[in-house]
């Protein structure tokens, strides 16, 4: 019987009431009396030298408050990068400056050149059109491989190269990997592109800067997944405002998917301008602006090779990847193709030797950074595609080839520096075979063939490193931030609980799932627990939400703080019942003395803490409020097996997804309904990447897919009803909840299953197609079939 409360209950999401009835408080809903509006004049060329910017006529236009250009930001910090990667020679990456407004050059279509602040947005736009620009267009750097050739135009002249870093991992293994390849019985090679994506959260970015002249305090309201991180980066590195004079609020945020992790120029601008003008300044991105100013995702070009022995055991793996950084280093961009990608190349397999080379390249395109999965989808896609290709080349069953090479003993130290704590890859595969009805596939294929369609079945496994991350480890790897999480648990005098978490909810349902944990621990109903997040003035310093970390890290901090509360409350209860603290038990919202019928209610203990008339004041302080900071000792390692079945119309190349099954091992699960939903959404985005989404530039650096007219987002009719199963649970061994994180799994695990299925379908029709780059669009399938 499913639970109806606490851990394991599929509670309906309490936040949905306001989201679905139009009563949410999104950033764009925030309006401050007397606010001005900013319009950013953005570059329409990919690369150009700014000869002059004449704002005189524009500044005289009606309603204009002030026009800012790069010159206004000279001497002020640029946007910082939060992760320094060290290259294979031990040298730090190239880290060119990233000005708030362009200085000297524009480096991508959308690069902000000037910011017009006016009484209304229309007035700001009118004035922006009156700015006279003299920009000398320069050759655009678009293709990554050409960008690192001698003689290429340079995105940043002063660093003398477009190569940000050339990373080798693990460099010491390189020789042994080469040797293993020379001895291999079989080598499978695959070259592919992991397509560039635009995150497209439903709510575009918004920033509202405010300044209080009386107190000297600045406030930024922003669409962020991590307001404390923005406060630190913007305050310390860009604007020079100490934390106690700067508040950052991220209220209801309509989706993030990674692209709202980063610190953006518009946030810094609005905060800066509000102080300069002593007036609130608001910016709301249009969807068109989002396409050319939100950090993009993925965009890797990879060659991967898998070596096998005569018994089909994986003996070595090597990869060479070009990773697009875009024109500037976005906040966590350098970490994505390295520590979030190279460390996952072992996948679910006991390949003993692995070498990963990544060349990060500057181009005249929008900066690229983490997007749902961030490095792990890129790792999974190439690995699971090359295994499928190897199986075909060797004439073996792709599932059996995987099973033969599965890691089966835990903990398992991979050759790429991480240690998996738990997992059971055969269990998730067994479950997949069952729920996806492998046994019935041949009959379904015959039915499809009778309709003139080709049917294919694709399988893949995935492993991800989530619960990001142990601070001491990531510090060694170049992170310039800690990745712990915080929580304050405040118990009010009448027993209600408020949890102020550093995690941020922008669709994840924390307001529902976090109270389930508190309810389980204390035994009070969930409606007695309130979650506060998204405001640096209310929550302790936290690191926010990304990398499937909220429950694993933020939830653990909450558990630690709640444990402190319970320990203290037991002392109070012991005092009230004149019993020994060691005999006190907490169950169903009441404290009792073991072996007696003595009991005192949760609320009575809480009241005693705040009205300490009968209270052990000599031993403990009044009040019931505790804070904990939790730093994980390892990543968590969710894993799973996915299966996709497609039909291909051989006349048009159109692919339709007939079924999709997913088995995930997320360890313990707090709210199964929310977890199912996270997986559904992730698979939807994975199917989007696999079949539809394609952020494309032409050779001049013009964005070809700059709107929904050309950028294909998945719609409801593009995705099937999913079969998901989360019954395989190997709990995480190192966090108190035994949870692993589920936010990114769907997006990581689904693209290879889709492409593997398409390739399988084409082979069933006699088409010897080995690979089609994503998105596997009808025209690409047709071209491959007729190539």
């Amino acid at each position: 019987m499913p639970k109806d409360h606490g851990i394991g209950a599929s509670n309906k999401r309490r936040e949905d009431i306001r989201f679905l009835t139009g009563t949410g408080n999104y950033t764009d809903d925030i309006n401050i009396h007397g606010q001005a509006y900013v319009y950013f004049l953005r570059s329409d060329v990919a690369h150009g030298k700014i000869n002059s910017i004449d704002t005189a006529a524009a500044a005289a236009m009606p309603g204009v408050v002030r026009i800012f250009t790069g010159a206004d930001f000279e001497g002020i910090g640029g946007l910082p990068c939060g992760w320094q990667v060290t290259d294979k020679h031990g040298e730090p990456m190239k880290e060119p400056p990233h000005p708030v407004l362009a200085q000297g050059k524009v480096r991508h279509v959308g690069d902000p050149i000037a910011a017009v602040v006016a009484d209304s947005l229309d007035q700001a736009r009118d004035a922006a059109e009156a700015i006279e620009l003299d920009i000398e267009e320069l050759p655009a750097v678009v293709d990554m491989k050409a960008a690192v050739q001698e003689g290429s135009a340079l995105v940043h002249d002063d660093i003398g190269t477009n190569l940000c870093y050339d990373w080798g991992f693990v460099e010491e293994n390189k020789g042994a990997v080469e040797e293993a390849f020379s001895k291999a019985a079989h080598v499978t090679t695959l070259e592919l592109r992991n397509n560039r994506l635009v995150a497209n959260p439903m709510e575009p970015r918004v920033a509202v800067g405010d300044f209080n002249r009386a107190s000297g305090d600045s406030t930024l309201y922003t669409t962020s997944q991590n307001p404390h991180v923005i406060r630190l980066l913007m305050g310390a590195f860009v604007l020079g405002i100490p934390e106690h004079k700067l508040r950052v609020v991220a209220p209801d945020v309509g989706g993030g998917f990674g692209t709202k992790i980063f610190h953006y120029a518009e946030e810094a601008f609005c905060t800066f301008a509000a102080k300069q003008l002593n007036r609130a300044v608001k910016w709301t991105s249009s969807r068109s602006e989002a396409f050319m100013s939100d950090a993009h995702g993925r965009d890797h070009v990879t060659k991967i090779q898998l070596a096998l022995d005569a018994d089909n055991n994986f003996t070595a793996l090597r990869t060479e990847t070009y990773a697009n950084m875009g024109a500037y280093l976005s906040t966590f961009a350098p970490s994505v193709p390295t520590w979030l990608h190279g460390t996952l190349m072992a996948g679910n397999y006991k390949t003993p030797l692995i070498y990963v080379n990544v060349k990060a390249v500057f181009t005249n395109t929008v900066p690229v950074d983490a997007y749902r999965g961030a490095g792990r989808p890129e790792a999974t896609f190439q690995l699971e595609r090359v295994i499928d290709k190897a199986a075909r080349e060797l004439g073996v069953d792709p599932v059996e080839l995987r099973r033969q090479n599965f890691i089966t003993e835990f903990p398992y130290a991979t050759p790429v520096a991480v240690e998996y704590d738990t997992g059971d890859y055969h269990a998730t595969m067994d479950k997949l075979v069952e729920i996806a009805d492998f046994a019935g596939f041949e009959a379904r294929r015959k039915d499809s063939e009778a309709k003139g369609k080709l049917r294919g079945l694709g399988v893949n496994c995935y492993i991800e490193a989530c619960g990001i991350a142990p601070s001491n480890l990531v510090g060694q790897l170049g992170a310039r931030a800690g990745l712990y999480e915080s929580a304050t648990v405040r118990v009010n005098a009448t027993g209600g609980v408020v949890v102020m978490t550093g995690s941020h909810s922008h669709g994840q349902g924390h307001e529902t799932s976090f109270p389930q944990v508190i309810s389980e621990m204390i035994g009070i109903p969930e409606d007695q627990v309130e979650i506060v997040h998204g405001d640096t003035a209310r929550s302790p310093m936290g690191m926010g939400t990304y990398g499937s970390r909220s429950l694993a890290v933020g939830g653990s901090a909450m558990v630690r703080a709640a444990e402190k509360i319970i320990n203290k409350a037991k002392k109070i209860a012991a005092h009230l019942m004149e019993a020994s603290e060691g005999d006190i038990e907490l169950k169903d919202g009441a404290f009792s003395v073991a072996g007696t019928d003595k009991s005192v209610a949760w609320g009575e203990v809480c009241l005693a803490a705040y009205v300490p008339h009968n209270y052990p004041l000599e031993d403990i302080e009044p009040g019931l409020e505790e804070t904990a900071f939790y730093d994980p000792s390892n990543f968590t390692y969710p894993s799973g097996a996915y299966c996709c079945e497609v039909e291909v119309d051989p006349e048009t190349g159109k692919v339709t997804i007939e079924s999709f099954a997913a088995t995930d091992d997320f360890g313990n699960i707090v709210n199964p309904m929310i977890v199912d939903g996270q997986v559904h959404g992730g698979i939807g985005q994975g199917i989007g990447q696999a079949l539809l989404e394609n952020c494309a530039y032409d050779e001049n650096g013009q964005l070809l897919s700059a709107s929904y007219m050309d950028y294909a987002m998945p719609r409801a009719s593009d995705v099937p009803f999913y079969k998901v199963d989360h019954s395989c649970q190997t709990p995480c061994t190192h966090n108190p909840l035994g949870v692993k994180g589920c936010g990114e799994a769907g997006a990581i695990g689904s693209p290879p299953a889709v492409v593997n299925a398409v390739i399988d379908a084409l082979h069933s029709g006699g088409h010897k197609v080995e690979h089609i780059d994503m998105p596997v669009s009808p025209s690409r399938v047709w071209a491959a079939m007729n190539g």
Binding site: S288, M713, S777, S779
Partner: protein, 262 residues
């Protein structure tokens, strides 16, 4: 968008007068013009809405002709033309999404003549007559290339007269992002022959595939076009498909349209 004046006349005659102002533009359902204005890519002095003109509304069948008012929305055509001209009703019911179909109009679509719009293929394949405030224009003379028609400045499409075919079908292969026609083929069979019109594919906009028409006029069956291949010359190549792919789709969709038309 930039500021403009707005008028909503109740008769064609008043609309014609209102459109005489310099830089005045007619506004139908606004499915292209409004986004264009929002992007500041047009700056009319005045918008003249045609949506208040009762004489431009409605669907009526008389003898062998289906007449649709120029201001009639796609959703109305989808519902009200279903018995008289089911292929045309199905086309209207497949344009955009419900929001688009309850704003966009047939007159607006034909006046705009987007090279990937659905309606131009139906009008051309049906040998329709475009009725304006001052004349009647045969479809064969009306479509003059991408976003180009025989309309004069300020001329209003008041109605479209479709000869009702013996059999017809429209096959649309959607561009994955916009869901406009990557290629759309409308096949219509009349007593005096078959007409095949193709949208989405050509750099010149909607066109008739005369080789297929000839083959089908002698033998209205999918086999008749099985061996035909449309030329890739002049076909659009873009992010979503090459000219060769579009040319190939023309053949596939024509065959399917004939099969579906029965």
């Amino acid at each position: 968008m930039y500021a403009f004046d707005f008028e909503k006349p109740t008769s064609v005659a008043d609309a014609v007068v209102a459109l005489k102002d310099e830089d005045a533009l007619a506004l139908g359902g606004g499915q292209t013009l409004i986004p264009t204005l929002k992007q500041r890519l047009a700056s009319p002095s005045k918008l003249v809405s045609l949506m208040g003109i009762a004489e431009m509304q409605g669907v009526s069948a008389d003898g062998g002709t289906l007449t649709i008012g120029g201001g009639t929305k796609h959703a109305v055509v989808a519902a009200e033309a279903a018995s008289a001209y089911p292929a045309l009703a199905a086309l209207a019911g497949g344009i955009g999404d419900p929001a688009v179909r309850n704003r966009g109009t047939i007159g607006g679509s034909l006046a705009n003549n987007d090279p990937a719009a659905c309606y131009p293929s139906a009008a051309l394949a049906s040998g329709a007559t475009i009725v304006t405030d001052k004349r009647e224009i045969a479809a064969d003379d009306y479509f003059q290339g991408m976003f180009t028609t025989a309309l004069d400045e300020g001329e209003i499409v008041t109605a479209v007269k479709f000869p009702i075919p013996e059999a017809a079908n429209y096959q649309k292969f959607e561009q994955p992002a916009s869901r406009f026609a990557l290629v759309g083929v409308f096949v219509a069979k009349y007593a005096d022959g078959v007409r095949v019109a193709v949208t989405g594919a050509s750099e010149e906009g909607v066109f008739r595939w005369t080789e297929a028409e000839e083959a089908l006029s002698g033998n209205f069956s999918p086999d008749a076009v099985a061996g035909l291949a449309a030329s890739a010359d002049g076909m659009i190549t873009d992010l979503h498909g090459s000219g060769a792919y579009r040319a190939h789709l023309i053949g596939v969709l024509t065959k399917r349209a004939v099969a579906a038309a029965g």
